[in-house]
């Protein structure tokens, strides 16, 4: 059976500035999540599980780690003949010289050669910074069945939160009639998930035209979709039910991690039919010492627990020393929580060493405390 050739393009160039020190040297999609993953593992695993064989990852901001990580196609089983994960960074061109990606649409436009080369029939546009499990194959079927030129995945959000999202106003058949970016008074609660399927032929034409418009934002939401709507092309909404989270802030990243401790969050990482793949650390199994106390935690291999852990997620290589207490916190890779240290409602960045006896964070705090190396250094100075 010949398959419709859908090529996935993951937009992974964003800076993620609201994650502060976490994204100082690492692009947001490469930030660790859920013990053993990186955020982009979700999009890449969804692609693999949806039988997509060719994935482009568009990188720009601090891309060294993200590029080297994504390039290892075999991690997600995407190393078939003719398929793979291709890292696409801005390149120097004969006519226009070296130009950065100036918007989401421009990023795809600059890689039309790649999509031509892969002979794409459909293009799936994804964000590299969302946590969710989704079958894009089903969405493609809906796209084809509806005879749409573009299909946009939407999720119902609470009305009062709708003004934070791009909102789709649809008719009875879920055809999109209007798109509003962060409307003050939303008319619907269907939020765009940043997941689009485009029929390639028309997309190619619209991207080329948009590129000629000097004052365009070169953005899917602001430029391409309005142009489609204006010309009366068929845009369809595809309703997604399930867990979906944009982890753009420290609080939302922390929350998404905490969701893993719940039985009913809707994000089931145990499902053997839809595994999330990741670089498998050649770490030891998790080592739980004889004095350890663990109450509701999500812990991965390579972690060493000798202290007390409750309502927390502990990442690979992290060590919780004796008499340390970690509550409602996210402890990222290779963090060492020194003896007797107490952490409450903290998110501790990779490789941070918490000195013995240090207390950080507060119960019932409004905001989650981001613990970075800089914060520890500052705390040390104040102490002296």
């Amino acid at each position: 059976m010949k398959k419709n050739n859908m090529v996935a393009m993951i937009l992974a160039g964003g800076r993620g500035s609201r994650l502060f020190d976490l994204t100082k040297k690492v692009a947001k999609p490469a930030v660790h999540f859920g013990g053993k993953y990186r955020i982009i593992d979700f999009a890449l695993s969804n692609c693999a599980n949806s039988h997509i064989s060719t994935v482009g990852v568009l990188v720009q901001y601090e891309s060294i780690l993200l590029s080297s990580y994504s390039a290892r196609s075999s991690t997600w089983g995407l190393d078939s003949k003719g398929g793979g994960v291709y890292v696409l960074s801005p390149r120097e061109k004969d006519e226009t010289g070296l130009g950065l990606y100036s918007g989401t649409a421009d990023a795809i436009y600059q890689n039309l050669d790649f999509l031509d080369q892969e002979e794409a029939d459909y293009v799936l546009i994804l964000s590299g910074d969302h946590i969710y499990k989704m079958d894009y194959e089903k969405m493609l079927k809906a796209h084809i069945d509806a005879g749409a030129e573009a299909t946009i995945a939407v999720i119902e959000v609470p009305k009062k939160e709708a003004s934070r999202f791009g909102i789709m106003n649809t008719d009875k058949t879920d055809r999109i009639i209007e798109f509003e970016e962060k409307p003050k008074e939303p008319k619907s609660n269907l939020a765009s998930m940043g997941v689009y399927i485009f029929s390639y032929k028309s997309l190619r034409k619209y991207l080329k035209e948009d590129a000629k418009v000097a004052d365009s934002a070169h953005d899917f939401g602001k430029s391409i979709i309005p142009a489609y709507l204006k010309d009366g092309l068929k845009l369809q909404a595809y309703r997604f039910k399930g867990y979906w989270k944009d982890v753009g802030t420290i609080d939302s990243l922390w929350e998404a991690n905490m969701d893993l401790l719940k039985d009913n969050s809707g994000l089931d990482l145990f499902d053997p039919d839809w595994k999330i793949y990741t670089d498998d650390a050649s770490a030891t199994p998790q080592c739980i010492g004889s004095k350890a106390k663990i109450d509701n935690a999500f812990i991965t291999q390579g972690a060493i627990i000798n202290g007390e852990v409750d309502h927390s997620v502990i990442f690979s290589g992290a060590e919780i020393c004796e008499n340390a207490k970690v509550s409602e916190s996210v402890i990222m890779n290779n963090v060492i929580v020194g003896k007797g240290a107490k952490l409450t409602r903290c998110l501790v960045a990779d490789d941070v060493r918490i000195p013995e006896g240090m207390t950080l964070g507060k119960k019932n705090s409004d905001e989650i405390l981001l613990v970075s190396k800089a914060l520890i250094a500052k705390a040390g100075e104040n102490h002296e």
Binding site: P285, C287, I288, G289, D295, N296, F298, Q301
Partner: protein, 371 residues
């Protein structure tokens, strides 16, 4: 450097791991939750830079084949090669004749193809960490015909039973071989690891064949103790010989201590294994876990004390697992009390609420059992 061929030998006839051995060779037996026994020796080979490895399998090859084909052991996928040689077809009904020498003889053409200068033969039923370059260097410098690895142990009365024990002279040459019948605590046990030139290896195999069809490599090496210069190289650090169910159990219990674990497996000497892409382990409300090592993909609501928990194991509330080794994909239902047990893969314990063995004789629950 001269080309070295790694040979992973299959288990000798004295190895009998009650229960577990009915389903797979010892090499493919799950250990420490996320590894197979073979991972340790194969990682020794690849960490030592050996690129050509032959793995001999005595019988029931399925799980070893599956495991090795899905694990890269960090070899370059073009230059490196792990070849599986399964030699029991003609011997299926006669265990006595299924000896390593016969397997080596049958497959000698695959040794020739590699054209190695030296062979390193290592056992599949031992767990230890060893850089084989050290032994090879020593072998070449000392001008031995054969160099073998040994360890001074003080628990030979209960472990290493029926394995080889060596007597050494002051130049660290082997003067005599004996079988360990458990009479003494403190002896030098052979770790069944040999370094020799390919020429010597082929000589030994031929000689063994002309002597007896029942001869194993360790038999013929012992025979040559006067005719050849057999040197001994001392191994330090953790070592386990998985020859009985008790030895298997004890090995798990010893390595699970944080200090031993990190000495045996670390960034400088990683142990490679097959990934299962399991998510991290969820410790639910009410779970109590201490003194244990736990693999990924588990869901724990009960109590786990001083145990080894394999991948994707479910332990329901009220269950108490103590001093036990739980292999992957096992389900332990509510209020089950288990002490000193080895629970094989894919089994479900739900109706029987109390299971108790001893450290010397752990209780064994069969693979796929529903009790």
């Amino acid at each position: 450097m001269s080309k070295v061929l790694g040979i992973l030998n299959f288990e000798p006839s004295y190895v009998h791991v009650r229960g577990l051995e009915d389903f797979r060779p010892i090499s493919a037996t799950s250990i420490l939750g996320r590894y197979r026994v073979i991972d340790f020796m194969l990682s020794n080979f690849t960490n030592s830079g050996v690129e050509a490895i032959k793995v001999f399998i005595k019988s029931r090859p399925r799980s070893t084949v599956e495991h090795i084909t899905h694990t890269s052991y960090n070899l370059n996928s073009k230059r490196g090669k792990i070849q599986l040689l399964h030699g029991d077809t003609d011997y299926r009904n006669n265990e006595l004749f299924n000896v390593d020498i016969q397997a080596f003889k049958t497959y000698m053409e695959f040794v020739d193809v590699e054209n190695p200068s030296y062979v390193v033969i290592a056992p599949s039923h031992f767990i230890f960490k060893q850089d084989f370059n050290e032994i090879l260097e020593y072998h070449i410098k000392s001008k031995n015909d054969i160099t073998m690895l040994y360890q001074s142990v003080n628990n030979a009365d209960t472990q290493y039973l029926m394995g080889d024990v060596v007597s050494l002279d002051e130049k660290k040459r082997v003067t005599a071989f004996h079988k360990n019948r458990g009479k003494y605590k403190k002896v030098n046990v052979s770790l069944e690891t040999y370094v020799m030139s390919t020429l010597t290896f082929k000589q030994l195999v031929d000689e063994a064949c002309t002597t007896s069809s029942l001869y194993s490599l360790s038999d013929i090496v012992a025979d040559c103790v006067r005719a050849m210069k057999i040197g001994a190289y001392q191994h330090h650090g953790f070592c386990a010989c998985i020859s009985t169910l008790n030895a298997y159990y004890e090995a798990n219990m010893q390595i699970k201590k944080e200090k031993e674990l990190l000495k045996l497996i670390n960034d400088d000497w990683p142990i490679y294994t097959m990934t299962n892409d399991s998510c991290p382990t969820l410790y639910k409300k009410g779970a109590k876990v201490s003194g244990s090592i736990v693999a990924n993909g588990c869901q724990i609501e009960g109590t786990v004390i001083n145990s080894v928990i394999g991948r994707n194991v479910v332990i329901k509330e009220g269950a108490v697992i103590k001093d036990s080794v739980i292999l992957p994909d096992t389900f332990i239902d509510k209020n089950v009390k288990l002490e000193c047990g080895v629970v094989d893969r894919l089994s479900i314990i739900t109706h029987i609420k109390e299971l108790k063995g001893t450290r010397e004789e752990p209780i064994y629950i069969k693979r796929g059992d529903r009790i």
